[in-house]
Symmetry: C2
Subunit: 296 residues, 2 copies
């Protein structure tokens, strides 16, 4: 996408994992910034980022990394944000946009808002995209295409700053939605966090089975199990932080799910085929709704 | 695959849904039988089967359908097998092979064995393949390629009959494994049945949410939820019968899963990040094992 003037001058990406490195690739591909500064604690990651040409500079110190940046994007596990906020808050230049890609939003707002000085624009965001892979080699520019990005700017944030962040994600092929952070967290609890929790659990339940069972389960994994295990391949640190940061919504949705599973379990125990059929048929309808909404 | 002599003379398929119609397509493609007789209770299905050229004859009466057949394959929901067995048992010619595609095996053996006369070869089978679609139009010959087929012949069944069934599934691109029916049922309970149950449940839990939540959940469905809902699109009748027929193994696996979910729920409630990380990291290892086993 040719531009006379890039969308941003200096972009600083903190955390160059799957998401951060994919964003870097989008920015490079579309020349959306004059300069990319990569900040990562791991030397191996910094080296790889430079080797792959994903950034112009790669540094370890966040405070140094954000100097003079127009856009700072946090792409680290969300529990790191409080510490990062304290380091970078005083260094963000007036007019800079602070954004992120975290899978939870209320905790992000709570962690960062205290560090956002007057004149800095705070636009928390969540691009709903990912694969089970990790690290800067895993990223790719097409990761975001056709997916949603949810922005949760606090009330009063400059609309033009929100729009610049939206432009970046649109360039990556995303559709933009805006909503309050707590609503985001409830929606994601049921669409993403609880399914991930179940997937992780079921894979562990399998690993506790006796030897022959476990070997056969892995050998004959198909359909349901294969789909479940795909999400269980996701980054353990990122997901630990997601659950610790979205505790209330996750526990609420888990509670609801438990009740519904108990109903089905009881139906099975009591040979209640009618209840089973009713529930399954209803699910199929909703599945068809999702296919129509083109999210499948 | 050219043959001087087809693998079978007359093949009778009872139930022309996704699986039955896919088998018909494989047989047609590779000329594995001289004649295909389709048997289905629904006139619309029989008409469609003939229209698609999937069979030479399409009849409603199972007893008539199996006359003179070398291979009879049951592809209906498993709770129909008892009734079918009573109808077709007396009509199977000596040397005929009776097989099936049901997702449970002990219940299938229990339902059909009483109707298998001396001289008829009983080779229960389960091709582990499927999509969320139903009906004769949904089938396709490639459905089975690269997947496992598990055969559970009772002790003493003629090895050559088992091999002929295996040949059919190998022609479809499947790998063959043989095991006792009860072991099959436990393996499938955890790899397939319980994941399907959870998927069905979680989709229903979503549909019970208040209006805006439900709409947003469907709209922003991605990753975890999308994978889960895929299996919830499966045929409700088939799955009702699976759960009613594999009750013990399903309830056992559900019990184990419940315990493990409770542990994680407690860890979340008590901010126990270490337990979460440990469980997630372990899952990722198993996921990698599955990718290596090429089942992903």
């Amino acid at each position: 996408m040719a531009r006379s003037q890039p969308l941003f001058g200096r972009v600083t990406l903190i955390g160059l994992g799957l998401i951060g490195s994919s964003v870097a690739r989008v920015i490079r591909r579309d020349r959306l910034a004059r300069e990319i500064v990569a900040c990562d604690a791991a030397a191996a990651v910094r080296d790889k980022v430079l080797e792959l040409g994903l950034a112009d500079r790669a540094v370890a110190d966040p405070a140094a990394a954000v100097a003079g940046a127009d856009l700072v994007m946090l792409c680290t596990p969300v529990l790191s944000y409080g510490g990062l906020g304290a380091l970078i808050g005083p260094k963000l230049r007036k007019g800079a946009i602070l954004t992120d890609v975290g899978s939870v939003k209320q905790a992000v707002v709570d962690a960062l808002a205290p560090h956002v000085r007057r004149g800095v624009h705070f636009v928390p965001g969540h691009p709903i995209a990912g694969t089970e892979n990790s690290g800067p080699e895993a990223g790719f520019a097409e990761l975001f295409r056709g997916r949603w990005c949810i922005l949760t700017p606090p009330p009063g944030v400059d609309a033009r700053a929100v729009e610049r962040v939206a432009k970046l994600w649109r360039a990556a092929g995303m559709e933009i939605a805006t909503m309050p952070p707590a609503h985001h967290d409830r929606v994601l609890a049921i669409t993403s966090h609880v399914p991930h929790l179940i997937a992780y659990t079921i894979v562990n339940t399998v690993s506790d089975l006796e030897g022959t069972m476990r070997a056969d389960v892995i050998k004959f994994a198909a359909s349901g199990f294969r789909d479940f295990t795909r999400v269980a391949g996701s980054d353990p640190t990122m997901w630990r932080d997601v659950f610790l940061s979205n505790k209330d919504a996750v526990l609420e949705m888990m509670g609801r799910l438990y009740e519904d599973i108990a109903l089905l379990q009881k139906a099975i125990r009591h040979d209640d085929g009618d209840t089973l059929h009713k529930v399954f048929a209803r699910s199929r309808q909703i599945r068809r709704g999702i296919v129509q909404a083109k999210q499948a």
